[in-house]
Amino acid sequence: MSTASRKASSSPAGSSPPGGQDALLEVRHLKKYFPVTEGIFIQTEIAQVKAVDDVSFKIYRGETLGMVGESGCGKTTTGRCILHLETPTEGEIFYNGINLTKLDRKSLNRMREQIQVIFQDPYSSLNPRMKIGEIISEPMRVHQIETDKKKRNRRVHELLETCGLSAKMADRYPHEMSGGQRQRVGIARALSMRPEFIVCDEAVSALDVSIQAQVINLLEDLRDEFNLTYLFIAHDLSVVRHLCHRVAVMYLGKMVELSECDDLYENPTHPYTQALLSAIPVPDPKVEDAREHQVLKGEIPSPINPPSGCVFHPRCPKAVQNCSRQIPELREIKPGHWVACDEVSAPSIR
């Protein structure tokens, strides 16, 4: 893949990346604050949850960007902002050069055809009262892509088969299917619009190991077949390493590290990334016995009142005094490897 040789631009959200790479999606200084209100009739805003706080990144055509982090880090909110299921508080989202935040409803709906989503929970993301065929054909009907019912049905059967299900499944209801099959239906529905870009929000997290592998392989095959671009949101770093070209690590609404995939896992630079990787057990007893396990102290702070300075400093083993005062900027420590930590300098080879 060309990602390894990709040269980085001057900023993670810089205007034009070199090397002829064109960014399909670009997020610039995205912020999403949720109000915390008090009172029943007269609601007054008492605080804000800073779910996403100034996040910028690009996703290049044909690449899969992994977005990882623990609960409350803002990875899902970022995905929802891109899908325009949430209106960003601040910041811009460019898709194919078009600013999504400035679009009116009608043109936004047209953009939505190209940006699809696969949700985490295959149990709640399919309408239990609709047949599988109806679920998959609904987007085509709504967007009037295929107005002829017969053709639509043919397309449904095609999609089911592409996703490894039998065409007969079209007449079934979601409750008749297993979790893995339902997730395949979710994928078929996303594909029905022939999108270029799919946000996979924890798309394989709810599945059992053997089924998860099937769905991961399906996502990979579809990516190659239809030249798809994914934003792959997940908390499982093992899955992310397997599937993604580049990885962004989030912590408490901030992006702390962004790098080419293998480089991130081999040379994690931000103390949070290091701790996160060390916390994940590898299914190999010898490797586990030999590895050092770094356990982070404390818990993830509340995003209502995030710590001052670097949000990670209360838990950081390398924190110095300055960390509680200054918010570290994301900066490039080597080509394509961005870290938001002032304490790391040159490429640290561990």
């Binding site: 053997s210 592998a213 390493r241 590898v282 010898k286 586990e288 993830i300």
Partner: protein, 351 residues
């Protein structure tokens, strides 16, 4: 490796040297659920032992019967619809299945404790943390209120909750998920049990919190010499923490052995499939996963065949006629497969 040897030596020095009976022996346990859709063979002839102070893992996917086995040990299977229809569970020389309810109640929480998956739902939301801990102490140890308070504070301190006095007055909703799981562990340790059964203790938690809880459990079980049964679907957790591993599929143990045997020399095609379908964090990109095709069987319709046969790459005629028993392979490793001796060659052929 060295840590494991040290642990074993410690065990021998601490009096484990004389040959003792196993702490827990499960023999041919069978638990079924009688539903309108048919009889679900949730646990179908499971046997394993747990020695004092050791950590045993039970791995498998949803519905393989790993949790039901644990609940059967505790005799917490809701009846109806469930019932343990056969087998024996011996714990410290007592047959748990033949005990009357009162004697069982004394063992539960006192000698065998349990840590559940969901710390949100397994604590009582209307009682303070302190009340929940002292309830256990009062029931089983009958100590005075002052002593209860003192012991409760001690326990919170042991599981790494600072400021115990204040915490004891709080309700579960005041605490984060990780904190609640720490309270669950404190509760489990309250009466110094011999055995703790942890059913997916960290599945609901975030990665860094999961690491904290697992390290805590490992540390405490070693220090206090408590045996631990970890039920999980996470093969990484097993590799990091378990001495012995039991792999379950469709209500049966299909393979058992030490962690090294099972991970480096799997004898059952299911174990092999499971290991090759997990993406690994320490593996470079681009390697294709080899998933197990198909889906787990319907436990109400298990025929006289190996339950894994429909998904098995190596199935032969015999697999559809006879159920393979769990048999010795070598050095205590066991597998339930007719072709367990050929599996290395078969593996090479398919790759």
């Amino acid at each position: 490796m060295s840590a494991k040897i040290k642990r074993q030596m410690l065990f021998i020095f601490c009096g484990g040297g004389k040959i003792l009976d196993s702490l827990l022996e499960i023999d041919n346990l069978r638990t079924q659920f009688f539903t309108s859709g048919g009889t679900v063979m949730a646990v179908d002839g499971v046997s394993y032992d747990v020695q004092e102070g050791e950590t045993v893992a039970v791995v498998g996917e949803s519905g393989c019967g790993k949790s039901v086995t644990a609940l059967s040990i505790m005799r917490l299977i809701p009846d109806p619809p469930g019932k343990t229809v056969g087998g024996r569970i011996r714990f410290m020389g007592k047959d748990l299945l033949s005990l009357d309810d009162e004697s069982m109640r004394q063992i539960r929480g006192r000698n065998i404790a349990m840590v559940f998956q969901e710390p949100m739902t397994s604590l009582n939301p209307v009682l303070t943390i302190g009340r929940q801990i002292s309830e256990t102490l009062e029931t089983h140890l009958g100590i005075s209120e002052e002593e209860q308070q003192k012991r409760a504070e001690e326990l919170l301190d042991m599981v790494g909750i600072a400021d115990g006095k204040r915490r004891l007055k709080q309700y579960p909703h005041h605490l984060s998920g990780g904190m609640r799981q720490r309270v669950m562990i404190a509760l489990a340790l309250a009466c110094e049990p011999k055995l703790i059964i942890a059913d997916e203790p960290t599945t609901a938690l975030d990665v860094t919190i999961q690491a904290q809880i697992l390290e805590l459990m490992k540390d405490l079980t070693h220090r206090l010499g408590v045996a631990l049964i970890v039920i999980t679907h996470n093969l990484g957790v097993v590799a990091r923490y378990a001495n012995k591993v039991n792999v379950m599929y469709a209500g049966k143990i299909v393979e058992k052995g030490t962690a090294h045997q099972v991970y480096y020399n799997p004898r059952h095609p299911y174990t092999l499939g499971l290991l090759s379908s997990v993406p690994r964090m320490d593996q470079a990109r681009g390697q294709k996963l080899v998933p197990i095709f198909g889906q787990p069987p319907d436990l109400t319709r298990l025929g006289v065949e190996c339950a894994f046969r429909p998904r098995c790459r190596f199935a032969i005629d015999r697999c559809s006629r006879e159920i393979p028993p769990l048999e010795n392979f070598a050095d205590g490793q066991q597998a339930a497969c007719w072709r367990m001796h050929e599996i290395d060659d078969l593996k090479k052929e398919t790759l």
